[in-house]
């Protein structure tokens, strides 16, 4: 991976300080005859330069929590705080500034591209409103592609279909980095990649945390990936946080029955061979 130029150091909060927090956040959706609670009184805190993984089964509320943190979805109750400021109901220029600081990478990078444009065109277009000169923009693209281990020649003149799945996801991370974010939210960002590409994408996130002090919220149903990457783990079940703590504590010494069951269900490369018929 190439050695990236540093981003504006003044923009990075001190390591370990709270950056983003959800406090008693609840989200209810109306359905015929009442409502369902997708996220129920959840409080989590994200610390600068740390990776926090949110794990749980499908439907546990992980992505709903992420969408509320991204301010793509209003909360039903509770507050979202960013660098000590309540951002739960901010609008207009304040919200746009928040969106610059808190960027996201989603599961399917192909769906995020316009297949008719080159990668370079899309990266430039995303920064169109920033009023940068062409040279500055090219330099920024080169820097951000460098963060994810790509050279401009690898990507800018290519169309999305000419990139591998791993390269596409790395370009999406580079696109997010162009906004100089403080928080990167990766929602199942590696689940469509095979084991080798997945490892390379996780290494990119690890590199960004270590070298840029980026705070990462990593949403996954793969506990192995959380174990590899995360400093802290939050386990969600039916909208509730059932366990949270350091990765070592949650994965190697789980207290909650649901966490234990989730860990027991993880397919084991060698252990499972002992029992051809599942328990």
């Amino acid at each position: 991976m190439s050695d990236p130029k540093s981003l504006d150091p003044g923009a990075i909060p001190p390591a370990g300080s709270p950056v983003l927090a959800a406090s008693h956040v609840t989200k209810q959706f109306r359905v015929s005859g009442g409502h369902i609670t997708a996220v129920d009184d959840v409080s989590v805190e994200f610390h600068a330069g740390k990776v926090l993984a949110v794990v749980g089964e499908s439907g546990s509320g992980k992505s709903t929590l992420a969408r509320m943190l991204l301010r793509l979805m209003p909360v039903t109750s509770g507050t979202i705080t960013y660098l000590g400021k309540d951002v739960t109901n901010i609008r207009g220029a304040e919200l746009r500034a928040y969106w610059r600081d808190v960027q996201a990478v989603f599961q399917d990078p192909f769906a995020s591209f316009n297949q008719f444009f080159t990668v370079g065109h899309m990266l430039r277009r995303g920064m169109g409103a920033a009023g940068l000169s062409a040279e500055t923009l090219d330099e920024l693209i080169e820097t951000c592609l460098g963060y994810v281990g790509l050279k401009p020649a690898d990507a800018v003149h290519k169309y999305p279909h000419q990139l591998s799945g791993g390269q596409r996801q790395r370009v999406m991370i580079a696109r997010a980095l162009m906004m100089n974010p403080k928080v990167l939210l990766a929602d199942e960002a590696t689940s469509m990649l095979d084991a080798s590409l997945r490892v390379s994408a996780l290494n990119v996130l690890q590199h960004l945390r270590e070298n840029l002090g980026l705070t990462v919220l990593f949403i996954t149903h793969d506990i192995g990936q959380a174990c590899y990457l995360a400093d802290e783990v939050v386990v969600m079940e039916h909208g509730l946080v059932v366990e949270q703590g350091t990765t070592d504590a949650v994965i190697f010494d789980p207290k909650n029955a649901y966490t234990k069951r989730l860990l027991a269900d993880v397919p084991d490369l060698k252990g499972s061979l002992k029992s051809r018929k599942l328990d």
Partner: protein, 342 residues
């Protein structure tokens, strides 16, 4: 074919490219499925797993063409190369009944405006036009009862079901005709661990109940494969490079590519917390212009001059087969796992 349910011999499948040069995504592959067993097919994205699955299911829509290959299932012999000559009607009778394909993302193909029972009727009538609604539903109900699944699911719309239940339902529906062979392409990839386990349990129950006599399970998820399969075949750049009993292959990988894939697996273990996995260096080759000799040699840490010059033949060590020059020089030796770690 004693004890062998299916043998696919010398299958070659190509994609017709705009350049006029065909891209062979599956190149002269031979694969067997023993009777009553589940065979896993693993490899990186783009290695030809799904293309091989489509060819074996006798589904080849342009630009994919199967240009060579023979499929033997039980006592039936099918010439796959006629798929490329517009003989699709010949294969129609075999699809779903002899070999059934559960394609990638099948659960998302359920119509949102129809109930599951309507899909059951549609699928049954697509293969047997005179099937009555009652016959189709009786069959589906009996099958769900046999698998101890709730029959009320038949009255549901797809949005009322969880991802795991949708995937189990499409699996049940794709086997209603009791195919000899089920080819399941990435059936667990979009599921969380609990749903994965439920699907795997159901597949094992189906094989035990002899609903089908064999399964080819395609995925890049090696822990899932090690949990469900009896044998594993590893594909790289359109070719099978290693094949053997699952336990033997996982514990005694003989091909550096298999070893690298195994090293990329992230288990929730203390070892994973401390190791730094590099992934496999480089990218899979352009199949339109693959490297000479062993196709993995440009990415292989154990490559030697012979690897570049000549394609290795299969070396047979009991039930374990490997096509690798390193393995030929290091008989019965496991490839060191740290090949992939920092």
């Amino acid at each position: 074919m004693s004890g062998i349910l299916m043998r696919a011999s010398n299958v070659t499948a190509v994609y017709a490219a705009d350049t006029g040069k065909d891209v062979p995504a599956v190149d002269n592959v031979t694969l067997e499925v023993p009777d009553g067993q589940i065979v896993g097919l693993a490899g990186e994205s783009g290695c030809g797993k799904s293309t091989l699955g489509n060819a074996l299911a006798m589904i080849a829509n342009p630009p994919l063409y199967v240009v060579a290959g023979k499929l033997e299932i039980s006592d039936t012999e099918i010439d796959l190369s006629t798929l490329a000559k517009g003989a699709n009607e010949v294969h129609r009778g075999h699809r779903g009944a002899t070999a059934s394909l559960l394609p990638q993302g099948a659960m998302n193909a359920i119509s949102p405006t129809l109930r599951i029972r309507d899909l059951v009727v549609d699928v049954m009538r697509a293969h047997k036009r005179d099937t009555t609604k009652a016959e189709a539903l009786d069959r589906a109900t009996d099958r769900l009862k046999m698998l101890e699944m709730p029959t009320r699911v038949l009255d549901s719309y797809s949005h009322q079901l969880s991802g795991g239940m949708k995937q189990r339902m499409v699996t049940v529906i794709s086997t209603l005709l009791n195919p000899q062979l089920l080819i399941a392409d990435e059936p667990t990839s979009a599921l969380d661990v609990s749903s994965q386990k439920a699907l795997i349990e159901m597949l094992l129950a189906m094989v035990e109940a002899k609903i089908m006599r064999g399964v080819i399970f395609i995925t890049h998820d090696l822990p899932v494969l090690s949990m469900v399969t009896d044998r594993l075949a590893i594909m790289y750049a359109g070719k099978i490079v290693e094949d053997g009993p699952t336990e033997e292959l996982v514990n005694n990988a003989r091909h550096p590519y298999t070893s690298a894939l195994l090293s990329s697996v992230l288990d929730p273990t203390e070892e994973t917390r401390t190791k730094h996995v590099l992934g496999i260096p480089g990218s899979p080759p352009n199949l339109g212009n693959p490297p000479s000799g062993c196709r993995f040699h440009p990415r292989c840490k154990f490559a030697m001059p012979a690897c570049k010059l000549e394609e290795p033949a299969f070396l047979h060590e009991g039930e374990h087969e490997v096509a690798c020059w390193w393995a030929m020089e290091h008989l019965n030796e496991t490839v060191p796992m740290e090949v992939n770690q920092a």
